[in-house]
Amino acid sequence: MSLLTNLQPGESQLPTVSHHGEIPSGQPTVTITIDGQEITAVAGEAILRAAQRAGFNVPTLCDDEKLAPAAACRMCLVEVEGHDRPLPSCHLPVEAGMRIVSASDGLFKERRQNLEYILSDHNAYCLPPCQVSCPTHIDIPGYLELMAKGQHVEAARLVKETLPFPFTLGLVCPRPCQEVCRRGLVEEEIAICQCHGYTGEMVMEMDQAPTPFPQEVASGKRVAVIGAGPAGMTAAYYVALKGHAVTVFDRLAKQGGMLRYGIPEYRLPKVKLDKELDCVWQLQGTEFKGGMELGRDFTVDDLLTRGYDAVFLGIGAWVSNEMRVPGEGLRGVIPAVQFLRDNASGIPVEVGKGSRVVVLGGGFTAFDCSRTSRRLGAEVTLCYRRSRKEMGAHYTEVDDAEHEGIRLEFFVAPVRVVERDGRVAGVEFQRMELGEPDASGRRRPIAVVGSEHVIECDIVIAAFGQTPDLDFVKKEQGLRKTRRDTIITNAAFVTDRPGVFAGGDAVIGASTVIQCVAQGKLAAKAIDRFLAGADMAEVAKEIAAEEEVPELIDIVPYKPEEPQVRMPFLPYAERVLSFELIEKGYNKAAAEKEAGRCLQCVCPDVGRCDLQRLSLEHKLTDNRFHRAEPVDYHDYEYDLTHDFILRDLNKCINCTQCVRICKDVIGADCYGLMGTGFDSIVTTPFNASLNFTDCVSCGACVETCPTGALMLRERDLTSYEIDVVRCIYCGDCVEVCPHGALGETPNFELSTYKRFGVTVLSKEELAGARTWKVSEQIPLGGHEDTRPPEIRPPGPPPWGA
């Protein structure tokens, strides 16, 4: 007997089984075998139900135990002995002695193929690649949407959930998010960084910077953060928000670390940096101690004995790598870090008007040195051993440098530094050509024999990367370093010594600001969990799981074109001998316009979507039916007409769960599968708005939708008022409210809202009002008998009166 028959009136009822796997006594049962395991099933129930109860993970997209089976999605097909084709387990009732195979390589492949079909017409975005690729995972679509609506403070709050310094990063971030922006598939990526730069700049002007959430009350714990750079300051910010007292130590006098002493003024004005970093000092319990160097002025032991409960080492990478060529000890050869730091600290540097500078390297530091030297009046040649494409610096930086008059030499590697009169006179180079790709995927340069030549210069700045200065480690217990001179930690940023955490460049080697911020953010989380006494191995697992790159991101994008709003830049002519900030910043209108270009390519159903879950389970992260003609996909308009239910037919997979739940459970019968073939859709009669159906806004369809085709509409919160004069006390609102926001009380006449001028009645107040008559005012607070005179005509008589 099938389940369909069971639903026919007058026929036997569906077997009743509790939701949590217990078969009530008295139910007739049968024994079946699934994947070689004997299980007990209730006679007449679907195989799927029995399998689920026994813990088998049979995939399904169209099954709901409240509903008659449709066998539509074809995901729950299992092999049943005696049948030559697999059959849907949601539909087939168990029979005694059945032998079933619920999982096999063949079924897995066929189900995967089936999912591939479904996804091939699931015209939707899944995750925003920008958010995935940002090391801090800022909710980019979220803040851009808020910005587009003009809610800039809210936007800043949202950004600060994962990135405390949006203005700074807006200027200096290498923008991994923008490289993957889907708008780039349409015409040009969104200026994501400049947008949060704008919000950051805007909230800097406020007396009190907005925080992502209110600072928690003081916990009594103290944390020492060593290093006031991006990692340290970020860690300090989030640790302080959790209510712990934070002291930030730095060996230099002022805060900012590499942001201050590495990044030149024209990229990041230090006045503004200080203003933005103030958001840390505005928090309770935070203090800065400059000029205190770890290993010289104090040790980790000192901190722990002086009452700090945890220590975070964010000491950065401050030692410039050596050139490893003869002559690098000559006068006039300056390590990049030292050059930038001296210049930023106001210490006179050797570079000046008319000096000839050769900068070696192709990363951000090399360009910072070149452009700084240029601004000091020097003739600068930047030499890199590979091509423009392989440069570590962002392409805009390379273009800008060229425009500012810096000579770029590619495919040259230094052989030795030429000496004259005890100091630098030039650098001898060898031409290179590209060979096979190396481990990093970049093609390895090979020297061309006989191509040696000399570029004359007065100053050589070597920017071959930096390494942390870990001399202090020798004096500390429980700290170990790698061969690359970085501190060893686990995924929870814990060193071998409990309570001592490390992050940023000191752990991952010289990297970008945003990576260090991400490290600081995660380390703060780990520190907070440590202070709460959590098992750090568990925390490490959690963090590793959170940081895993999701495999399923994209499906099919399409949107009309609209070019990027250009960031105003300082003209090249004005950059000569000037450290003025290059990026002038968006104004409000430009920022909102640019933010509005965001495709919002994120599905609100991510994480709850069964289709996404099954796709990942079936390792279906690519799709062979991609990028063909428009006729191969559907592109429907969103239906935004209904106040609560958002219908996005592009995501519908024809599982018909909403059809069945609306008809069989709710009784409103708003949906149907319309049409035939590939172009069929599940929609309302005549594809009309839900407003024109018998929809009661119960949300059952949204709840049952296995993907994001039916979603609760996001709304700005509004308060509702009831017009008591027109209310007929039908109770319909109470019945249909899917969230139980309206309730019945023992005395339903009193359960009105805003009656007698009372704004909100609490449950207790209503419960206590049981004995009060309609015409009487409900006493608020205590329930003393202080009945005021009648102030309104009585309502309708109670039922049966």
Binding site: N114, S120, D622, T676
Partner: protein
Amino acid sequence: MSRLLGDPPASGALGATEVSPEEIVSRVERSGLRGRGGAGYSTGAKLRAVLGSAAGGREPFVVANGYDADRQSPIAATLLERQPRRVLDGIAIAARAVGATRAYLYLHPESTATRTGALAALSTAASDLGDLGVEIAIGPGGFAGGEESIALAVLESRKAMARQRPPYPAREGLRGRPTLVQSVETLAWLPSIVREGPDGFRASGTAATPGTKLVSVTGAVARPGVYEVGFGTTLGTILDGAGVAAGLKAIHVGGPTGGLLAASRRDVTLDYAELAAVGAHLGSAQIRAIPAETCVVAEAGRLFAYLAEESCAICVPCRVGTKRVEGILAGITSGLGRTADLPWLTEIGDQMARFSLCGFGITAPQILRTTMAEFGAEYRAHIDDGRCPTGTCAPTRVRRYERMVQP
């Protein structure tokens, strides 16, 4: 030897009242009659199954499927227009055999003449039907509407969508009751088999599949139309009888989801097992002669384009799979094919045949299997040389399916 389109049976009481229901079933069983709707299930066994399910006091229904889903194969219409009384008699006999008092004659909405004729025959025969109520029901139109579970859905006033089997209608059909669903052609055989005994019926056809079959010969033939031929007749004989032109390329057997056989397969006989062995099926019994200048790849693409529109849309492999196959085939005929497309099509076809809900999706991959097996060179010419051997393919698309790369 009895023929369906021969002389109409003598008038008189319908339903072979002189024969007991048990004897009817027994005679049908002995005749070896197999369902003419395409699948070829034994009619006697089906009657037995319905009787068995009806034993618990659940009164069965009879549904006579005269829908003619494949409009190129108007077999039911031909029978109903030329032998309406024979059909009604068959319905009445079947109803008596299983103990049904309600029967439905299920027709295509475009078969208006058939419907008028059937109505007239019904009113004439009303008094001869006894307590059997026969109603004419109109299907939704379209190819899928002829599928038995869709017919039942339509009779229940539900959306015309296929329903998963098992349970088969013989056990749980219309409104959950045992239902005998038979094609009009099958039922039309019952009067002669039951009244005259199975011998006349067995005189034609083969031992495994006795009797004659109405087939619709279409395409490149001089005299297209519905013919009655014995099972076991070769396809060549049937085509010659309809005046097939010389230089045939392929024979398309079984309607839109049927296989395309090379013209050299003229010796294949009309028989369930033999057609299955070469990858085709009897299906709607359409035998279409495909002329030499037809590109088989494009023809397969057209068939899948049709199927992608006609799928009832409930199950994924049929609804989306047919569309994707069409896209791949259109890619090949547009010069965008790749060698890897062929194993891909095989993979898709195998999955579709195993995972589809009803015969529609289960049989559709026959088109792929037969064309790729018999006309592999044509596929390869499109893919490897970028040309259509018949010179008839024009590009219909500029972009093919590509593998997605996650950002």
